[in-house]
């Protein structure tokens, strides 16, 4: 606790002497009130801030929410915007020591040049999705040759072999990533289907390729609806088989099933309206694959650790199930379900004439999947004592963090490795935002050199961080597995240099000539009928009208 002479002791003495509760350290209190949640105790946070001796152990004795608030206050006080040198230096000192005790360190940013295009590719590879460009964006962001050739289909289809991706100067930048190598065939098939001139590949820049990927993989609302239906039907088959095995007539679900089918049928199904995002990763993105792998490997440990911290079991199990099934960590979409049938659930199911379950019986996973896929998760939603639904948003959720920054990966010989599992870590969202990214800051051009700190792990093998104490971390090394070695070998073989690729593209683009605008000959301009006129192109029609006008003038 507070030592004689420490700031905390001095502050406490002053408070005691004055007897006034309002005499608080203004700066720290105002910073704290700005960042804190309802669960944060002011005295707990200040007990670390004004303790100069045992602040590290005091920090570790706090609960998670108070630790986060303390870390946030120290981070804010350590920033150059705090003009008070003493408090700023003191905060930085404590922050460094606390970070060290968690297994983190502050490193200076290193400028390892990585082009904007390459960062765009890494981002696509990680999330497995691309945003469809709006018309105004297409005009600004896509190259002229690409736009022209995409909008001028040939009369004859080429074969897939005619589309030589090796002739595309920018494709090697994509080819370094397994996710893009896997979709090359589909891109070719799209180009064949759309009868696009094969020379387009030699003229495409990175944005053009991402547009091609989004066009190839975009789904209409009809396709999305069909997928949802297929996914529900699959869960329905599993449920029916489960019920049959237990000699329960599957038709007890007829009424609920019919409601779900009706709801699904009412979803929009336009063939011409597309999703905003195209998901190209097959079957799942790098990010989702990582979440799957971690839950497969350490699901039990995560469960035990979270239960030991006192989090609701129903939340923990529902979250792990979503992570395992969908690779998703987004809790707002998550329905927390009961683990066993309750009176309320049985009453709600009875409304659909479902009477085959008993109170206290575990809810079978097939039923959970069926109801979630059918949008009826509320029927088994977990509730508190007052009957209110328990919301996942009230619990800590996980996010995926890159341990080494993407921007600093310019010197890597295998750039794809930035998205490898050994560079990723599953962390609680608040730790992600306030601790691991706590130092990130936007500055003006003039200030850019003065802010360069980043928080990194001392132990590169940490893969889970579910709290701010050492025991909340789990480590694992992926680098010795055969799968890792094989992938690294494959990716490393696809070396590409951005400046060289870009130089080759510029050369090709400068040699490009727009498709010749056919100047109508006098013969072509002869119009004998309205049908003949309508069959001409817009430019030809304009020329014909001009010629007719001239004839009349003569």
């Amino acid at each position: 606790m507070a030592e004689k002479g420490s700031k905390f002791a001095r502050k406490q003495r002053r408070l005691n002497q004055s007897g006034a509760q309002t005499a608080k350290p203004a700066k720290e209190i105002s910073v704290l009130s700005a960042v804190s949640d309802i669960n944060v105790e002011e005295s707990a946070v200040l007990s670390v801030i004004y303790d100069d001796v045992s602040f590290v152990s005091t920090f570790h004795s706090l609960d998670y929410e108070n630790q986060i608030a303390t870390y946030q206050v120290l981070t804010l006080l350590s920033k150059p915007s705090n003009q008070d040198d003493e408090s700023r230096n003191d905060a930085m000192f404590k922050l460094e020591r606390i970070a060290q005790s968690i297994g983190l360190e502050f490193t200076e940013r290193q400028d390892c040049f990585l082009s904007k295009d390459e960062r765009h590719i890494i981002r696509m590879d990680f999330y497995g999705s691309i945003d469809r460009l709006k018309e105004s964006e297409q005009k600004r962001k896509l190259s002229k040759p690409y736009m022209e050739l995409m909008s001028a289909p040939l009369k004859k289809r080429h074969r897939t072999e005619d589309y030589d991706f090796a002739s595309a100067p920018m494709w090697p930048l994509f080819e370094r990533f397994n996710s893009f190598r896997k979709i090359e065939k589909k891109l070719k098939q799209y180009l064949v289907r759309k009868r696009i001139d094969p020379k387009i590949l030699s003229l495409m820049d990175v944005r053009d390729f991402s547009d091609l990927i989004s066009k190839t993989f975009q789904k209409s609302l009809k396709q999305v609806k069909m997928e949802k239906m297929r996914s529900f039907l699959k869960s329905e088959i599993h449920l029916r088989s489960y019920l049959s095995d237990r000699r329960i007539n599957p038709d007890v679900f007829a009424e609920l099933g019919s409601k779900i089918h009706k709801d699904l049928a009412a979803l929009p199904d336009s063939e011409n309206v597309y999703e905003m995002k195209a998901h190209f990763e097959e079957p799942i993105s790098v990010r989702k694959k990582f979440v799957h792998a971690i839950v497969d490997l350490y699901g039990d440990e995560i469960k035990e650790s979270m239960l030991a911290k006192g989090y609701d079991k129903r939340y923990v199990l529902s979250m792990l199930n979503a992570m395992k099934k969908y690779g998703s960590t987004k809790t707002e979409k998550l329905v927390i379900t009961e683990t066993h049938f309750t009176d309320r659930i049985l009453k709600d199911l009875k409304k659909f004439k479902i009477n085959c379950f008993k109170k206290g019986e575990p809810i079978p996973q097939v039923l959970v999947d069926y109801l979630i896929e059918g949008g009826q998760g509320d029927l088994i939603a977990a509730r508190d004592e007052e009957g209110h639904k328990i919301l996942a948003a009230d619990f800590p959720s996980f996010e995926v963090h890159h341990k080494h920054a993407v921007s600093g990966s310019g010197d890597l010989s295998n750039i794809a490795s930035i998205n490898y599992p050994d560079n990723l870590c599953l962390v609680f969202e608040k730790i992600h935002a306030h601790v691991l990214h706590g130092m990130d800051i936007i500055v003006s051009e003039k200030q850019r050199d003065s802010y360069s700190r980043r928080t990194e792990f001392v132990n590169d093998d940490v893969i889970i961080m579910a709290g701010l104490n050492k025991e909340d971390q789990l480590s694992c090394s992926f680098t010795n597995t055969n799968g890792y070695k094989k992938r690294q070998k494959q990716d490393s073989a696809k070396y590409a240099s951005y400046p060289e690729c870009y130089a080759a593209l510029l050369k090709n683009q400068s040699a490009y000539k727009s498709p010749n605008v056919v100047t109508p000959t006098k013969k072509e301009l002869d119009v004998n009928s309205v049908a003949d006129y309508v069959s001409k192109t817009y430019k030809q029609r304009k020329a014909i009208l001009k010629m007719i006008k001239k004839r009349h003038e003569l």
Partner: protein, 135 residues
């Protein structure tokens, strides 16, 4: 914008979790200006009136005094913004989504070295938001 609202609704974003009153908006704008940041662009306010703070995968769109303090636009900007002409509206593991009041454009900015990753005109606002959420 309607396309964006549809995307958000499909992804179960918490709609009107904390409905904004004109008083909340004026209060937030005053506090932001007082802290030295530009005011929140009108289009973003339209979004906040429907979805005040949205969590995505590894990131979020910020809100005005939302229930989840993590998404508070004022707190977040005080912690991560030292620029007088930009305001941070959202983030993911790679980038900040900012509005540049001088250029009247939205940008994706690398969060570690400030490199501009993408830009969006005011008319492309929904693309900018969709880009940071990764649904």
């Amino acid at each position: 914008m309607s396309e964006l609202f549809q995307l958000l609704a499909q992804n179960a974003a918490l709609k009107k979790e904390n409905p904004l009153s004109p008083k909340d908006i004026i209060g937030a704008q005053k506090e932001l200006t007082h802290a030295g940041f530009p005011i929140i662009p009108e289009q973003f306010l339209l979004l906040l009136r429907q979805f005040n703070g949205i969590k995505g995968e590894d990131g979020a769109v910020l809100g005005i005094s939302p229930k989840n303090k993590l998404l508070d636009i004022l707190v977040f900007n005080k912690a991560h913004n030292a620029s007088a002409q930009k305001i941070i509206l959202g983030y993911d593991d790679f980038a900040f989504l900012v509005f540049d009041s001088a250029e009247q454009k939205y940008f994706l900015i690398d969060r570690t070295d400030g490199t501009e990753l993408d830009d969006f005109l005011e008319s492309e606002f929904s693309s900018a938001v969709s880009n940071i959420l990764h649904f």
